[in-house]
């Protein structure tokens, strides 16, 4: 408790949106690799934890999308995370994040090939991950077709961020399900 203030400078603290969870999150981050992460963050040390460590957190361990989540939130796109990325991830996944922000990142998570559209192949991957490859290819194809038919407003055969956000508005449960309690 005593060294709480010395972890961050007040200026750093200002920028975080999950201020009340900040210390908890910092210690969670540090627990992943106590030998790598210093206790003092006031001089902005350049520490990056590899994906293997991030993905082994109990909150992410069994999540089928864990790799995507880590990739989306990491600066380098490979899932290796600095403390900032880590805080970013859990602030977006906290209950305080607004719907638009959540939708934006959810879109990026489901956009496996990073082309800013959710196309058929992305959808197939999503469905397969959701069902652990239990559906037959035929069923997967049908599901993907229907999903695109339902959500694609401009008939271009793939979902843009706007399509996705539009769909998310109609999904009342999204806010509660796209949320990791930390």
């Amino acid at each position: 408790m005593g060294n709480k203030q010395t972890i961050f400078t007040p200026e750093q603290l200002d920028a975080y949106q999950v201020q009340n969870k900040l210390n908890g999150l910092f210690y969670r981050y540090r627990d992943l690799a106590p030998q790598l992460v210093p206790l003092d963050y006031t001089d902005k040390p350049d520490v990056t934890l590899p994906y293997e460590l991030i993905g082994s957190m109990p909150e992410l361990k069994d999540n089928p999308f864990r790799q995507r989540i880590a990739e989306v939130f990491s600066e380098d796109g490979d899932g290796n995370m600095t403390l900032d990325d880590f805080l970013d991830m859990f602030s977006v996944l906290s209950e305080m994040a607004p719907r638009d922000l959540k939708a934006y990142y959810a879109f990026k998570i489901y956009d496996f090939n990073n082309d800013d559209y959710i196309c058929k192949s992305d959808l197939e991957k999503t469905v397969n991950k959701l069902t652990r490859n239990e559906l037959t290819p035929e069923e997967v194809r049908l599901v993907c077709e229907k999903v695109i038919y339902e959500a694609d407003l401009d008939n271009d055969g793939k979902l843009s961020l706007e399509d996705f956000q539009h769909m998310i508005i109609r999904a009342p449960d999204f806010l509660s399900t796209f949320h990791i309690r930390i």
């Binding site: 975080y16 361990k61 922000l101 769909m167 399900t177």
Partner: protein
């Protein structure tokens, strides 16, 4: 796509406008043709949509989608990927397409030449010389083209979707001669050293510069049009396309730093709360947000100099800095303590990790109820109970505590703070202790007289009123979340993208969730297939018969229960009177008191199980309907029984000894009902969950465990809460009992859940159901209790010999007496009497207020209806325009092919 009507010949010498018109009407006709799809009606409406909607919603004329454009070409993403608008990649007819789509800008490129077919032909080389390969990005034609490109409202926003967008993983070394990338190149040196070096590598092709400028431009553009909208007033539908604004307002290609400061300037114009909200919703990484904060700080101090603690010259400034710093530290310390103040955080996490959002919704509801009760308990405790405890009445409590009272609420508890009868009707801190109804005016009134009857009445009133406001507010919140205007069925898409519950962490539950989603998807697919083949007549008749039978049975049992309770009430009345005459042992007498609550709770529990059985027989199609039906039946039973009991209490047929108030007896009855309800919930948990699991695991060797029945459990909570609200007037400490009960329930239910239950197999719309629950809590439960209490206050005569309102006509009369007293003692607060006379007593005012409220509700409903219509029309418009564009592109393609062949 089949094309039933021949498209207009584009090489004709019509003017551009008529060409467009034709294209539109053509697509309308085609829309009618596509009517087999769900957007079928557009054929009939699409023509009036265009003129009407555009000014209203600020849409740019003829929005077109860039993707459909690619799609039509079959080039998909090859154009944007390869970078800039260079010849070779760009179809040669492209500029004319833009020209077509944006008539106002056509003049820049194409001199209008009506009467000549050439206006559709590619213009002379100088007009699109920028298309030629080898031209640098700095070509003068560049910005015009981009402008035109931008004016095709892409539905993709929030990123740089320009043709020059860097492909994923692009490094700066590649340096595609692109617009946005050059942007970045310029911006890079300006990035502060603190920023991460990877700022140069925007992940996934989304540059943060673009995002920043998007948000900046959200206001900058609109300010020109209107006076000054705030960043937040912009609705999603009106959100502008990024590139257009970026182009228009950033002709000089601002650097990232510039953009950041522009955005900071915009943010500064907002109020602090709006600003932090805006910052929250920016999809930027933390490093960037920190830079923004720094920028904000700099701009806030006028000289651009942040006061440095070391550099401040005067001791005053130093002191100020020090205090600010100290306050900040304190604030962060408090914030760090906040998680500790959130009760049950870990427990809730555990539950959601294993059982998902649906079961969690039960516990959250329980938590909400707990908050309600703690709130009203605090009010009552401070203003009524504590003060009465400080000035206890002269009469001492004679009865000893025996232990059995905990169940019956009688005996020792009868003359305690728990019940109405204990409270006195005097001004508490007045030594002469004159009663309110007594006409003897106190000789020396205390400085702050505390009138118990008034305090009692007002505190109960205020706690009800506050609860009402809280309830309505939470209802409004949850309605806003779960029912949105313009929502329509997109089950499969929502299922795929929103079904995964990220909260679930336990491996077994994750597996179960996968299986659930899999079966649900299969069911949805099967449902689509089977929609076309309806059931046979026989099957349908059978189903109707089963449904009818189930409903008759359930309604019959409800009626039977009510009649049974009625006769039991009559019978108990007689029995109690006999016993009182005989003066039997207290144990026997109190045992008799328990018969009624026992029966009612037993009926409630048994009937809910019976309804579950009926639901199994019915085999409803959708689980949601099943849940609603179960809720409907259970609620009907519980509310009817409660209504009967209320009638019984109001008709004052409670058997009471003469020295007791009838109010106390009603309070005792309610206490007993609550305790019995709790006991039965416990029994139900033990037998329904624990024993069931033991039998199924040990005896039947099955892996299956019982599921947590959310609907039934929530209804039990609502029932308990109704009892509490009904009893607040008669037993001010009843909320305390309820708080205790809820606390125990939380731990018992949680333990039982963890030990005995498995994750639910049915899909469950958690947020929609919690809306339903809070509505049920508000509508029959709270409203019923409020009506009951109001009736008692306004038109039932309170007890003659005890309680705070003894000797008065009705409870409400105490206000009249007090108002008169006030008027007499201090004439300068006559306005209080006036308010009481004209606003409360006069019915006209009440009618007026409710009339206004009704009118407002009606207006809101109409507005929502209108919005719904607009949304429908807009959807049609989007679909139409997508098709328009495809058609135009096809048309142009064919024209150019013809031209090339000719050449």
């Amino acid at each position: 796509m089949k094309e039933p009507c021949t498209p207009p010949s584009a090489s004709s010498s019509r003017s551009r406008a008529s060409w467009q018109r034709r294209a539109q009407s053509w697509s309308c006709r085609r829309g009618a043709e596509v009517g087999s799809r769900s957007r079928g009606r557009m054929g009939t409406v699409c023509v009036p949509v265009y003129p009407g909607l555009q000014p209203q919603l600020g849409l740019t004329p003829l929005p077109q989608t860039e993707h459909s454009w690619h799609q039509a070409l079959g080039t998909q993403r090859s154009i944007p990927r390869d970078g800039v608008l260079q010849g070779g990649h760009m179809p040669r007819w492209a500029p004319s397409l833009w020209a077509l789509s944006t008539p106002s800008l056509t003049a820049h490129i194409l001199p209008p030449s009506p009467g000549h077919p050439a206006h559709l032909a590619p213009p002379d080389t100088s007009a699109f010389a920028w298309l030629e390969p080898g031209q640098g990005e700095q070509h003068p034609g560049d910005s015009t083209t981009l402008r035109i490109l931008a004016s095709m409202p892409s539905r993709t926003i929030g990123e740089c979707r320009l043709p020059s967008c860097p492909p994923p993983g692009a490094t700066l070394a590649r340096a595609t001669p692109g617009w946005e990338l050059s942007h970045l190149l310029q911006a890079c040196p300006a990035v502060p050293a603190a920023a991460h070096p990877s700022v140069l590598l925007p992940p996934a092709g989304r540059s943060r510069g673009a995002i920043i400028s998007q948000y900046y431009n959200r206001t900058a553009r609109l300010r020109r049009r209107r006076s000054r909208p705030s960043l937040q007033q912009l609705s999603r539908t009106a959100r502008p396309s990024l590139r257009q604004y970026d182009l228009e307002s950033d002709p000089a290609r601002a650097t990232l730093q510039d953009k950041r400061s522009l955005l900071a300037k915009e943010l500064l114009s907002l109020s602090p709360s709006q600003r932090s909200h805006m910052l929250l919703s920016l999809p930027l990484c933390l490093a960037e947000k920190r830079a923004l904060w720094r920028e904000l700080d700099e701009q806030r101090s006028p000289l651009g100099l942040r006061p440095h603690p070391t550099a401040s010259p005067s001791p005053c400034g130093w002191c100020k800095d020090y205090i600010t710093l100290g306050c900040r530290h304190l604030w962060y310390r408090l914030l760090a303590l906040l998680p500790a103040a959130q009760p049950w955080h870990y427990a809730l996490k555990q539950i959601s990790g294993r059982f998902g959002s649906s079961v969690l919704s039960y516990f959250l509801f329980l938590k909400t109820l707990l908050m309600f009760n703690v709130f009203s308990l605090l009010i009552l405790l401070v203003f009524v109970v504590a003060l009465q405890a400080a000035y206890p009445p002269a009469k001492a409590n004679q009865q000893p505590f025996a232990g059995f009272e905990l169940l019956t609420g009688a005996g020792y508890f009868t003359h305690s703070l728990l019940y109405y009868g204990y409270y006195s009707n005097i001004t508490l801190n007045d030594p002469s202790a004159s009663s309110l109804s007594g006409s003897v005016a106190p000789s020396a009134p205390p400085r702050l007289p505390y009138n118990m009857p008034l305090a009692y009445l007002f505190t109960v009133g205020v706690s009800f009123f506050a609860t009402c406001i809280l309830l309505v507010y939470s209802m409004y919140r949850s309605f806003g979340e779960s029912y949105r205007v313009g929502s329509s069925a997109g089950d499969l898409a929502i299922k795929v993208f929103c079904a995964w519950d990220f909260k679930v962490v336990q491996r077994r539950s994750v597996k179960l969730q996968c299986e659930n989603i899999c079966t649900q998807l299969k069911e949805l697919l099967a449902e689509r297939r089977s929609r076309s083949c309806p059931l046979s007549l026989c099957q349908r008749l059978g189903r109707v018969a089963v449904l009818l039978l189930a409903w008759v049975l359930s309604l019959g049992t409800v009626l039977g229960c009510v009649v049974a309770v009625h006769y039991l009430l009559e019978h108990m009345h007689v029995v109690q009177q006999e016993h009182r005459a005989l003066a039997g042992s207290t144990w026997q007498r109190e045992g008799i008191l328990l018969v009624l609550p026992l029966t009612v709770s037993l009926l409630n529990t048994l009937m809910s199980h019976l309804y579950n059985l009926l639901a199994i027989c019915e085999r409803q199609d959708s689980p949601a309907v099943e849940v609603y039906v179960a809720i409907c039946r259970n609620l009907l039973l519980k509310m009817l029984v409660l209504g009967l009991l209320c009638y019984h209490w109001l008709s004052r047929r409670v058997v009471c000894s003469d020295e007791e108030c009838w109010e106390t007896c009603v309070g005792q009855d309610l206490y007993r009902f609550m305790v019995m309800d709790f006991v039965f919930i416990l029994l139900d948990t033990i037998f329904g969950e624990l024993v069931f699991r033991l039998i199924s695991e040990k005896r039947l060797k099955r892996k299956q465990r019982p599921e947590f029945d959310i609907a039934r459990n929530v209804l039990e909570l609502i029932y308990g809460q109704t009892l509490t609200w009904l009893g607040v007037l008669f037993a001010p400490l009843l909320p305390a009992v309820q708080v205790l009960k809820l606390l125990l329930l939380f731990y018992i239910k949680k333990t039982s859940l963890m030990q005995n239950c498995q994750a639910p197999s049915k899909p469950w719309q958690a947020s929609r159901m919690s809306t339903v629950f809070i509505t049920l809590l508000c509508f029959p439960s709270f409203l019923g209790a409020a009506v009951f209490i109001s009736y008692i206050i306004w038109s039932v005569k309170p007890s003659e010999t005890c309680g705070p309102f003894q000797g008065l006509e009705t409870i409400y009369k105490s206000v009249n007496v007090w108002a008169k007293l006030m008027e007499k003692s201090s004439p300068n607060i006559t306005w209080l009497t006036w308010i009481q006379q004209y606003l409360v007593e006069n019915t006209f005012f009440l009618f007026f207020v409710s009339g206004v409220l009704l009118a407002m509700t009606y207006c809101h409903i109409q507005v929502v209806k209108g919005q719904r219509r607009i949304i429908c029309l807009l959807k049609e418009q989007i679909a139409n325009e997508g098709e328009d564009k495809i058609f135009l592109i096809e048309k142009l393609h064919s024209i150019y092919q013809q031209k090339e062949e000719r050449a």
